[in-house]
């Protein structure tokens, strides 16, 4: 019973994070939203695995926590390199 409430809360937060991903003016807002969605997914799997009485599914939560972390770092590195390359091109262009 309590599981329903928690799952509804987590799903509502996922919807809010999705709204931030769609709205966010800068690209970092969207990265923030993706990171939030990732951790919400981990929490949802952890709770729902108990709710559906399948504790072996917790491996999914751990995998997803890993992949989310690495994905966010990769995306940020990528934006940093792009910003720096643009800065270098502008300096060359002056």
């Amino acid at each position: 019973m309590i599981y329903y409430a928690v799952i509804i809360a987590i799903l509502a937060t996922m919807a809010l994070a999705l709204a931030r991903a769609l709205l966010g003016p800068t690209v970092y807002d969207r990265v923030l939203a993706v990171n939030m969605l990732g951790t919400k997914t981990v929490l949802l799997i952890a709770v729902a695995a108990f709710f559906m009485d399948r504790p072996d599914f917790l491996d999914l939560a751990l995998t997803y926590a890993l992949i989310n972390f690495i994905g966010v770092l990769a995306v940020l590195e990528f934006f940093r390199v792009r910003a720096q390359r643009r800065l270098a091109e502008e300096k060359k262009g002056d």
């Binding site: 937060t13 923030l32 990171n35 939030m36 981990v42 108990f50 504790p55």
Partner: protein, 109 residues
């Protein structure tokens, strides 16, 4: 005894759900990128601690509880790191926090 454990886990799960929701609303309504990051990090640390603690109480002394503890430790290590990396990257890209001028140099999107 099991009633106490059940009640404790209910309380933890409810509080956790509440904080997760608060963080989500904060991420949507806050005015600036950095304030949104602050709101989102509430869900990542406090919300996840409470929810996973609640589920561990339900699990008892099984392998599942060990896995949940591992997930919690992992989340506690990595979500602050990701938030730090995000804030640092945004600052390097030139996005200024709210009260100062909007962009440090040209806006990058």
């Amino acid at each position: 005894m099991t009633f106490i454990v059940d009640a404790a886990s209910w309380v933890l799960l409810t509080l956790g759900g509440f904080f997760v929701l608060v963080g989500g609303i904060g991420a949507l309504r806050m005015p600036d990128l950095y304030t949104r990051m602050h709101a989102a990090s509430i869900t990542d640390s406090l919300g996840s601690m409470l929810i996973i603690a609640g589920v561990i109480l339900q699990a008892g002394f099984t392998l599942a509880a060990v896995k949940l503890a591992a997930i919690l430790v992992f989340l506690l290590f990595t979500s602050p790191t990701a938030a730090n990396a995000l804030a640092s990257a945004a600052l390097l890209a030139g996005i200024n926090p709210g009260l100062a001028a909007p962009w440090r140099h040209e806006p990058r999107s």
